[in-house]
Amino acid sequence: MMPLSKTSRTKRRSSDEQWLFRALGVSFFALFVILTASLRVVTLSARYGIVPLEIPVLQSHVPDPRYHQFEEFSRDSVTNNTSALVLTVDAFYFGDLSSFSTDFSKSDDKYSVPHKDGAPQLDRLVKEMSAWVTDRSKRSNVPLSPVLVMIPSGDIPMPILIEVVAVLRSSSLFKRVILSSGMS
């Protein structure tokens, strides 16, 4: 090996710094931490929930010839006395389903809760529907049903509709909400 001059020896000593590699290691570690945190922020999902709704189906008997002979039963049915709620930009209207179909021309079987400054009064709606359902059950012997048919008009904003459904489902009145085609 060639003998090194004094200048070269000094150069080699000063360039052979071990702290450089430690700094590199720390830098890479910091880079990975920053990358991980950034990707986590971008890809982390928020917490989402759902407001369930249903589409009614016709009951049909399908025989099951196997050992358990499974049979499907209907839990609830949509009848003339099923509660119906119409949502327009002006008010809520509620009554029996028949009052909005076969008996549409009658005026004494529908009830309304007008919006206040354009905002739905849900607390009042739930109270009045609760009183109506209870009174109907006692007066006309109509069994309490957890099914509600909701008929929104087409220009109702979706956030309003979703929140109305969520509040009605969270009340003790209705557990199953059916959205109809609506009014145009």
Partner: protein, 188 residues
């Protein structure tokens, strides 16, 4: 002859230089490998475990507390375009129709897609022998700017595909307050 000697000397000196360099300890060589290994480790981990399926979808859902669901099978993002309704599915299929939709034939492709997805879900449930009564088949992430008239065709398509339960997605606030249960918006 001289050129051959020059060439030999050239290659000898190159060889000596390489031999001298290889005798020197090199401390930098693991770092590029470390960098590549670290990057691919982080990216793979994020792709496998933490990818947000809502990335790339533009529907801004209503902020409202509701019960979470872990069993939804078909997720649809619904937004309004230029006089049209755009539906993007969780497997990146895009369906688009006009706001003035009058015929159900325009929804034929969408209904066919929903039916196909349902068949796949039923086959999967049969194979794993697991099916939940409370399972929500379709979750609709409806943008806040939409009106009910935008959603009606989707409900018709769900009925055509034989789907009887669906749900609207809401964004749960980080800290729920009592005011979250009151409607602040107006119907107009």
């Amino acid at each position: 002859m001289n050129s051959q000697l020059d060439s030999l000397n050239h290659w000898s000196s190159r060889y000596a230089a390489v031999a001298r360099r290889l005798k020197q300890p090199l401390w930098w060589f693991p770092y590029p490998c470390l960098l590549v290994f670290g990057l691919q480790l982080i990216l793979t981990a994020h792709i496998l475990f933490s990818t947000n399926p809502r990335l790339g979808h533009h529907a801004e859902v209503v902020r409202f507390p509701s019960a979470p669901s872990r069993d939804s099978s078909i997720w649809l993002s619904v937004t309004a375009g230029d006089k049209s309704t755009i539906v993007t599915t969780n497997d990146r299929r895009v369906f688009k129709w006009s706001e003035s939709l009058r015929s159900s034939d325009d929804l034929k492709d969408f209904a066919f897609y929903l039916r196909r997805r349902m068949v796949e879900e039923i086959q999967t449930a049969s194979l794993v022998q697991r099916s939940l009564r409370s399972q929500t088949r379709v979750v609709i992430a409806a943008d806040q700017s939409l009106k009910y008239s935008h959603i009606k065709p989707i409900i018709h398509a769900l009925a055509q595909a034989g789907i009887s339960n669906y749900a609207f997605e809401t964004l749960n606030p980080v800290v729920a307050s009592s005011g979250d249960h009151h409607i602040h918006g107006a119907t107009r």
